[in-house]
């Protein structure tokens, strides 16, 4: 991961460059702790009796970067002093230009309504820290700035790890997992993923695909939310970690496994609906309370099954799908079209 070069920030966008005097860098202060401080908020450590690997991990490092379940994620990014100071500098930097100001306005509005049923975000420090993270990202990657959906991903990462870790994980997810194309103006990546999703549905759930098409429901209507939020709008905060761990290892192939697993479990119910409204009522719920999350999960349960998100993710992982096809389609899409 490239970082530590503050000059990167100078390149804002093609036509907007920031006058140098507006950038205030205080590298000397770069290792001061951030206020308010953030620590993982999840329940993972309480639920699990600390595993041996985690104990070793604790011994090796002075401070764990996140919860027991986020070890795999933690290995994805190495946090050195350079990363810490760069994040700090991003926080200190003041930028005044149209693109950044727009992003900043939207972030201010959105942090107010991100997971506001959870006290840490509605009353605690979560709101301030999430805002700090998103603003830092808008400065780090001005071409993307801020797009709705990032707030949910960032909040989910923040829930399980430390602030600096969550920030660099966000950067890594967007850079290394091709989320950039998803968030760019016009959503070029979304088109690509909808194309793959169509393919997957035709191949594995043809009856469902036909039913959806007949009622005028485009894959895009489902994919936009699931793609842009990486399922964080579907999976409750505590359980997002199961998805991230596998996603980082198996990349988009795993995304499609979860996509198919969820839709396969809902297939029967969806096919019984005979209006677009009824179908969308099942697929897109406004999941902002625990109760709605649980309802959604129970709708996916098979007879005599007690489903949890952890189990669902495991089932999804065991699915066999045509991985070569997904990789080919994702890699070649722009060449084909």
């Amino acid at each position: 991961m490239k970082c530590g070069h503050s000059t990167e920030m100078l390149a804002f966008s093609k036509d907007e460059t920031i006058p140098e005097e507006q950038i205030i860098l205080n590298p000397g202060e770069s290792l001061k702790p951030l206020e308010p401080a953030h620590s993982p908020q999840c329940n993972c450590n309480n639920k699990n009796i600390l595993r041996r690997t985690y104990r070793l991990f604790l011994k090796r490092k002075e401070q764990p970067q996140g919860c027991i379940n986020s070890i795999k994620l933690s290995e994805k990014v190495k946090i050195t002093d350079a990363e810490i100071s760069y994040y700090y500098i991003l926080n200190q930097t003041k930028i005044d230009c149209q693109g950044y100001n727009d992003a900043s306005c939207q972030i201010t509005l959105d942090v107010e309504r991100t997971y506001n049923d959870i006290p840490y975000f509605s009353q605690g420090n979560g709101k301030i820290i999430l805002k700090r993270m998103l603003l830092a990202y808008a400065k780090y990657n001005p071409n993307l700035g801020y797009v709705q959906g990032m707030n949910l991903i960032a909040a989910a990462l923040l829930w399980h790890t430390s602030e600096i870790h969550a920030f660099w994980l966000l950067v890594s997810l967007i850079n290394d997992f091709d989320l950039t194309a998803l968030f760019l103006p016009g959503f070029p990546g979304l088109e690509k993923h909808c194309h793959v999703a169509d393919f997957m549905l035709i191949e594995y759930l043809p009856a469902l695909y036909e039913h959806l098409s007949r009622h005028g429901i485009m894959t895009q209507m489902i994919m936009i939310e699931w793609c842009l939020t990486l399922f964080t709008s579907v999976i409750p905060l505590d359980d997002t970690i199961w998805f991230f761990n596998k996603f980082i290892k198996h990349r988009w192939v795993f995304f499609y496994k979860v996509f198919l697993e969820v839709l396969e479990r809902l297939e029967e119910k969806i096919i019984r609906c005979n209006s677009a409204a009824a179908i969308l009522k099942i697929i897109q719920k406004r999941r902002n309370t625990r109760q709605i999350w649980d309802e959604f999960l129970s709708e996916m349960e098979k007879p005599r099954e007690k489903l949890t998100w952890e189990k669902l993710i495991k089932h999804a992982k065991e699915k066999t799908i045509n991985e070569v096809c997904i990789k080919y389609l994702l890699g070649q899409f722009y060449n084909i079209s």
Partner: protein, 205 residues
């Protein structure tokens, strides 16, 4: 309940002006001070009755962030009505409405009906857009203007029902088929044969 007509309606406007809150207030009667931001378009439906015609409104509540504008055509395609929402305490959001109207006139269904809603009227003290200006603009483009507040519920039912009325009016004026008594009489004038057929099939003997 038997449904005579089904209308597709979209809500459009800048982010956080209260599109989702208005739609949720109208359909579910709920208000959530901190409604989550919309990335996906939400789909809501409501059955209403206007002049003895029962109507099902299919409401597509779209995402407001500028970036998502590229996807809006998917939702306003074939829509019969649009609820354009602005926040009375935010000047910019009104200009967004103006630009939406321009876009819809070019891209959307020719017969699309507009209703403009000046939302957040409970914050009258912070008003930045004079009501007269908004009403004058609405008149100019042939739309209705409503002052609404998703928080108090003021004007919410009225603005959605106005859209339904406007669509019904437009349809009856253009003479496209509608299963209401008024429209049926129009058909009689146009096509005698059809009436004869209808009478035959409708007869009890």
């Amino acid at each position: 309940m038997e449904v005579d007509r089904e209308f597709k309606i979209v809500t459009l406007g800048e982010g956080r002006v209260g599109k989702t809150s208005l739609a949720m207030r109208y359909v579910r009667g709920q208000f959530n001070e901190k409604e989550q931001s919309t990335t996906n378009a939400n789909f809501l439906e409501k059955n209403i009755r206007i002049n003895e015609t029962s109507i099902k409104l299919n409401i597509w509540d779209t995402a407001g962030q500028e970036r998502f504008r590229a996807l809006a055509p998917n939702y306003y395609r074939e829509a019969k009505g649009a609820l354009l929402v602005y926040d009375i305490t935010d000047k910019e959001s009104f200009w967004k409405v103006v630009s939406w109207v321009e876009e819809l006139k070019m891209q959307a269904d020719k017969d699309i009906s507009f209703v403009i809603a000046g939302n957040k009227c409970d914050l009258e003290l912070d008003r930045q857009i004079p009501k007269e200006q908004a009403i004058a603009y609405a008149k100019q483009i042939g739309a209705a203007h409503y002052s609404t507040s998703a928080k108090s519920g003021m004007g919410v039912n009225e603005c959605f029902e106005e859209i339904a009325k406007l669509i019904l009016d437009k349809e009856s004026r253009s003479g496209s088929p509608i299963r209401s008594s008024k429209a049926r009489s129009r058909v009689i004038v146009k096509n005698q044969e059809e009436v004869v057929k209808k009478k035959k099939s409708g007869g009890c003997c």
